[in-house]
Symmetry: C2
Subunit: 347 residues, 2 copies
């Protein structure tokens, strides 16, 4: 049995001949430009439909070919996951170059609203699109809206700014990610009763806040045997996280699970190891890095809730390029899945 998808047969010129008009007119109809009598437009559309005509992308690209400039705004500092994002974007430079496009990476203190919004504003008129790891704050939202209003394309990355006029968000559904972490801890803790510690970077980060929300929701509804302690905030830093975690372990003898919402996982892990509680505590963290990979293999971490930085980087650049070229965004393909990584499906 066979299903065929024949090659679209002809070119603009064939369609033009078929419809009894010139190529320029076909082009106008194809791009919905004005200046075509409704009647001729119809004839053209019919010819297009009859042959299932699709303009050859390569030719269109070549004919347009203008240099395009993008920017990536990402946090300074040693957050490994953010480094991976930056590296992955850098690795796209070849891909972009062969399309007459380029990215410029701007590192900034993302935790500081005025600094971040100034970095955004500084791009006005200098680039065609920006991908930004953003804090969800009034002034940041305003800056994004400004840029969008000026005709620039804005994509939020990893953490969203929902109220804003950003054109697209590239990242996981963080509420669902929190729920996922909760059900992992719930199911891996064997119906024992006890307390669950939550370590976050800052609840001002929308992704962190959303994860905590989803986490509490599922534990609260489905695991009455478990109690979620109030989240502690360590600013995504190892040293602070280690102190906070050590105190938690000392204060809560019946702690049976830990959820680290943000970065700084090595600090949390160290405190757990130093307390000699590795095997007794179910530990779920985010994002696969060289550290979390080793910790999974050693059994310190039980599961990682992951988002693929390579995929996010590619998606961001692909979406920006598509927006600039007025191509439709394939939402299905651009959705970033929440990945559960345990020892045996380590990629």
């Amino acid at each position: 049995m066979r299903t065929e998808t024949p090659t679209s047969p002809r070119t603009l010129e064939d369609i033009a001949r078929e419809a009894g008009v010139s190529v320029a007119t076909v082009d106008r109809v194809l791009h919905g430009r004005s200046g075509v009598r409704p009647d001729t437009a119809r004839r053209v559309r019919e010819a297009v439909a009859r042959y299932d005509f699709r303009p050859l992308r390569a030719a269109a690209e070549l004919a347009r070919a203008k240099a395009i400039r993008f920017a990536l705004i990402a946090p300074t500092g040693d957050n490994i996951f953010m480094q991976m994002i930056r590296d992955q974007v850098d690795e796209l430079s070849g891909w972009l170059a062969s399309r007459r496009a380029s990215v410029e990476t701007i590192l900034t203190d993302v935790f500081n609203p005025p600094v971040l919004s100034e970095a955004l504003e500084s791009l006005m008129g200098r680039v065609d699109g920006v991908a930004v790891v953003a804090l969800d704050h009034q002034s940041v939202r305003a800056a994004i809206d400004d840029l969008a209003a000026s005709g620039m394309f804005v994509v939020t990355l990893v953490s969203d700014v929902p109220g804003s006029r950003r054109h697209h968000y590239v990242g996981i559904d963080n509420v669902a990610a929190g729920r996922t972490a909760a059900s992992l801890i719930g199911r891996l803790s064997h119906a024992r009763a006890g307390k669950i510690g939550v370590v976050a970077g800052s609840q001002l980060l929308r992704d962190h806040a959303e994860r905590i929300f989803g986490f509490q929701q599922v534990i609260g509804f489905e695991y009455p045997n478990l109690t979620v302690l109030a989240p502690v905030e360590g600013g995504d830093r190892d040293s602070l996280n280690e102190d906070l975690m050590a105190r938690l372990l000392a204060d809560q003898p019946d702690l049976i699970g830990v959820y680290n919402v943000g970065a700084g996982t090595p600090g949390v892990a160290k405190a757990i190891s130093d307390a000699g509680r590795e095997r007794q505590i179910v530990f779920v963290a985010h994002d696969l890095t060289s550290f979390t990979r080793r910790a999974l293999l050693r059994g310190v971490i039980d599961a990682v809730v992951h988002q693929d930085p390579g995929r996010e980087a590619r998606s961001a650049m692909r979406v920006l390029l598509g927006l600039v070229r007025h191509e439709p965004v394939l939402t299905e393909q651009e959705k970033i899945p929440i990945e559960i990584v345990m020892r045996d499906n380590l990629p």
Copy 2:
């Protein structure tokens, strides 16, 4: 702080001028074609390097532009996952058409080696590349080798044929998938002791055999409390699977987990539900479908080991197109991850 990736500045012609040669010579060097004196080649390469020159893809594509034909060989029958693969490939027809390419889907009895290899042989000279869901059998391997030798590109899909000359395999690591299923069942069964049932389609299918291997390995080494029963084979059919599963449940009162390696999950699920053992048995199956999605939500299935059919379809077509155009395959980007899907990270 800023990192810049400037747009590659110029065109073939600029490089030619810079190197004091003609565009044709630059083109030759760029594509490693013969007929260039080593010395001039060096000068060209230097100019290319100096400007970090990248040829504009769109122009190259346009200049080459030949119609390309692909085929997909997939199983007949009502296997939902295979339907999804077919649908996803069909949905790429627009993407392909705008690149002067097309796919033809050929349905065949993949379980039958002679039929499958004949279907493969029939493509000889008719298409430029084929993606095939293959049985790992002597005659199939021979057919693949024949096609490859004739200059056709062959990609195996979902299930690999390792000994053959196929150019690429698009699909998950099935041994790792089996290990993943095992550690899910092991960890979700709360250290209880008991038996684990395994239902497969056929051990002649390489993917099924590999999954079983990985599964037994992990349960054997890491969960001494669990015993894996001999796999039963239901040919991926619901009705047969249901019977087999019902018998298993009747015969094994201490059955605490079930791993369904292939399709026909509804049959297995029905037997478990009818026996009233939904809550007591840890059930892990493969591939997210409308059925497994509902079963996850209802709690009948505890976890699904998934591979994304859309991603596989796109990867297969992208790789084939790349092979035909002699572009390098980005192995990193084309790797298909093993996804763990539980209720809370349902996409």
